[in-house]
């Protein structure tokens, strides 16, 4: 979930109980205030009635239009002693004029007149309907909640987007960063210390990783170069023995095997050098290369070498398939895909080379799919072949990376198929 959505969700979730709590407190505060006011009014009213009664004056009319009502009931002394002198409570009262029952605030007062007679005065005053209030309050709380939410989220979004702009700039920069290609680091125009720090940290991390990639590249290059001389010594000494010591059959066979292993090593080393040169971008000159012509030239050679396998090769290529590449890399690309198809075809299999638009496809028979994720990694081999460096497809991958070509591997209908797409010319 995006950060801003998470913030919005959390704000909404936190606001919900807060608004509920606020509504509850508000409700009780209002009820309390209304009761307080009502009680004051009731008290004044009671006082008026009691004063008039004790003074023997005329009591107020029951129907004074105020919906207030009262009743005076004589009580005995025991009742007076067991009940509080003044008591407030809420109850429903029947109101004659309206002919309906309404919630009311009631005050009871027990008083004694000059004749030591006890009376209980019950004064009632219609008051608000709690349910109505609750409902109204609930409606407004929900409305307010939604409005508040919209406002809060809107403001938050706006502030968030404005403040987080440097973060998104940094993220975009990270997206575009390709390890090993070098970079100037993210733009550091933010005035906010945290973002400056973040940018600096990112730039530092990238610098360190660039340095270590560079070091690794150099190491591979240097190691491969350093190996050339010992390999030359080994090879020359083996050749010297073969030419000068008249070895018997067994010895000669062993030495030939050593020589073959050695030439495997030499090939491996050369390929690693080539890979590191491609990764270092040391093939700057490009020219127009006709891959169709290149393939037509190479296929007969492979046919000759792999004749005993009885492979069928079908080429559906246009007259020319011209791409702009370094010619030696173009040859590396095509040769390795072609060799891959020949080497990994079962006896009697079929190899198909076709082109459609700017996409060239090589396919050959196979038994099980290869790991598409790892197939272009160095030394990944589906089935270990003697004499194979395990670097052929890594070379293909490196060339495609170098030119930004799209390469696809699929396994369909028991066939491995590699497609390379060039951008429209």
């Amino acid at each position: 979930m995006k950060l801003i959505y998470r913030i919005a969700l959390r704000l909404s979730l936190v606001l919900l109980p807060l608004m509920a709590l606020w509504a509850g407190l508000f409700y009780y505060a209002i009820v309390d205030e209304i009761n307080d006011e009502s009680d004051d009014a009731l008290e004044d009213y009671s006082e008026l009635i009691i004063t008039r009664m004790l003074a023997g004056r005329e009591l107020p009319n029951l129907n004074s239009g105020s919906n207030n009502s009262y009743s005076i009931v004589p009580v005995d002394e025991a009742y007076a002693r067991t009940h509080p002198n003044i008591d407030y409570y809420d109850a429903d009262v029947y109101i004659h004029e309206k002919e309906e029952t309404e919630p009311a605030r009631i005050m009871t007062t027990i008083f004694r007149d000059a004749d030591d007679m006890y009376y209980e005065l019950r004064v009632a005053m219609p008051t608000f309907e709690r349910e109505d209030l609750l409902r109204a309050l609930a409606f407004w709380v929900v409305t307010l909640y939604l409005m508040l939410l919209v406002c809060v989220l809107g403001v938050t979004l706006w502030i968030f987007n404005r403040s987080m702009r440097p973060l998104y700039a940094l993220l975009r920069w990270f997206d575009g960063y390709v390890p090993g290609r070098g970079s100037d680091g993210p733009s550091t125009d933010s005035t906010i210390p945290e973002f400056r720090q973040l940018n600096d940290a990112a730039a530092g991390a990238v610098r360190r990783s660039e340095a270590s990639i560079e070091q690794q590249k150099q190491f591979i290059g240097n190691a491969s170069h350093e190996l050339q001389t010992p390999l030359a010594i080994l090879g020359n000494r083996l050749e010297w023995i073969l030419d000068n010591t008249s070895p018997d059959r067994r010895q000669a066979e062993e030495m030939f095997k050593m020589k073959r292993t050695l030439s495997h090593l030499v090939r491996l080393n050369k390929t690693l050098l080539l890979l590191s040169k491609i990764d270092n971008g040391q093939f700057p000159e490009s020219s127009d290369v006709d891959l169709a012509a290149l393939l037509r030239e190479q296929v007969p050679t492979y046919d000759e070498i792999y004749e005993w396998r009885h492979l069928t090769v079908s080429m559906a290529l246009p007259e020319s398939f011209t791409v702009r590449m370094n010619d030696s890399l173009a040859s590396t690309l095509v040769t390795n895909l072609l060799k891959n198809a020949y080497v990994h075809s079962p006896e009697g299999g079929t190899i198909e080379i076709s082109a459609e638009g700017r996409t060239m496809t090589f396919s050959n028979d196979g038994s099980a799919p290869l790991d598409a994720e790892r197939i272009f990694e160095r030394f990944y081999q589906g089935d270990r072949k003697e004499g194979s460096t395990g670097l052929g497809l890594a070379l293909v991958g490196a060339v495609c990376r170098y030119y930004g070509l799209k390469i696809d591997y699929r396994f369909e209908g028991s066939r491995h198929s590699f497609s390379i797409s060039w951008p429209e010319a």
Partner: protein, 231 residues
Amino acid sequence: MKILIVEDEPSLREIMVRELEQEHYVVETASTFDEADSKIAGYTYDCILLDIMLPGGSGLKLLENLKGAGKRDSVIIISARNSIEDKVLGLELGADDYLPKPFHTAELLARIRSVLRRGRGGADTKLRFGNLTLDPDARRVEADGREIPLLKKEFDILMYFMQRPNHMVDKVALAEAVWGDHADQADNFHFVYAQIKNLRQKLAEAGSSASIRSVYGFGYRFTDDAPADEE
């Protein structure tokens, strides 16, 4: 023929000396930039085998000094750095050839012979062995002056052998040299046998004194000794 080997690695220097002396060259060595510089300045060699990365300086600088002094010694650069730029630079500075490490002995000897032939002033780049003459430029082979018609692969194979007379040749190395990188994963060498068979037949029919001998079934030797395969 006097050859100077400029190479800092003692073991490689030693084996190169041994191989060249076997071919009856007079061989001197230098292991550092300064040693090589003083030898090049003081003597004249028919051919200098020059390593580029030397203790004390670059072999390319030696080459510059040599050409700057107007000397005409032939130079073959032998370098661990097989890069086009180095090769171009070396040849521009006046080197006659560029041989990347690791190299085959026979390859080195073939390059030296080729450079020496050119150095002798003659434009004669023809290879000769027994009664055979092979002209790489015209792609023409003659036995006692009579042309032997060869197909492309047959010619390439014969040229490979003629550059390595009397040396043991591995069929795998031969396949890689003639068929190129395409053959490096071949697991069956019928395509080599077929070509060798045709080539042998053509050589025999043309009355060649040299022939391709099988060596224990996994290699060949091109020789004009008395026939009979080794085993």
